[in-house]
Symmetry: C2
Subunit: 147 residues, 2 copies
DNA sequence: ACAATGTTGACTAAATAAGTAAACAATCCC
DNA sequence: GGGATTGTTTACTTATTTAGTCAACATTGT
């Protein structure tokens, strides 16, 4: 029941963008350095985020990526949906037809409740919430590369 | 973010025991048949449940397994803890020391909230809750082998 | 033109989960 | 006591997914 590194890294990368909101595109290289993610791996995470309309990218020198929406308009569940897919702990929660037991299965009800509980948390938190909390708490040292 | 089959199968097996509560030990063979689990695989799931004090076993003819406690005293979180381990979506939630960022990491807070939300669901539901719900809903056909 | 950047696809490696098979141990029943 | 029946444990295999790397490619500013 672990979250993939895709989601963890991707969320941190987006938080980094939120912290730099308004400063124009940020280099992937810098995000990778400040969040301690392999650049080659980070490159793979941005494609679905672009496709999902969460970030925009600029190629060439002075390029980089930036948030495509206001941080307050980006719910965390959008991120997990794009990088992780549904949070359903079992397939039958989203697709009852994969198991003939679904209609009478009470364990399925519980797994469904788990999903609902998680969705609740991630639907009520935005990137802005995270960014503000981070600013109050003090930026991690590694995020200060831009000084 | 999927639940292992260990947990899914194990929970169904225990539900089966709860449905047969008071009838003495149930054959693994019958549990496997009624819940459509490979017997050889089911055998692997019972060891941790015995060690965890949730079920007891009887060897030899007329043997089988049965709940070691009343269904109402077995919370689902005990089962997931034994078969799945902690529901922490990331390692650092349970063990902050694995990452130096932990103290200032706001994404960690969110993953921690996810765990709390899940734990809440599984701490407030017992095997008896499941069994009663199942009885009201009608037993799945496959559970009627004992007729 | 060239250097700096993001984009994409192919590939490898590692870890974990899932499942199978077989030897073993205990117990009941006759 | 012997044999059938059942749970217990160990070892092994296979499949799947995740994580990560590498290299070619495309775009753009200077």
């Amino acid at each position: 029941m672990k979250l993939s590194t895709r989601t963890r890294y991707g969320t941190r990368a987006l938080l980094e963008l939120a912290l730099h909101e308004g400063e124009g595109p940020v280099f992937l290289k810098n995000i990778a350095a400040s969040q301690q993610i392999s650049l080659a791996y980070l490159e793979h995470l941005i494609a679905p985020l672009i496709a999902g309309g969460i970030i925009r990218s600029v190629k060439g020198p002075k390029g980089g990526i930036a948030l495509a929406k206001k941080p307050g308009d980006i719910k965390l569940i959008e991120i997990t949906q794009l990088l992780e897919g549904s949070l359903a702990p079992v397939e039958c929660v989203d697709h009852p037809e994969v198991c003939k037991r679904s209609s009478k299965c009470v364990t399925r009800d519980i797994w469904s409740e788990l999903k609902t509980a998680m969705d609740g948390v991630l639907s009520t938190t935005t990137l802005q919430d995270l960014a503000e909390k981070q600013k109050n708490r003090g930026l991690p040292e590694s995020s200060m590369y831009y000084i």
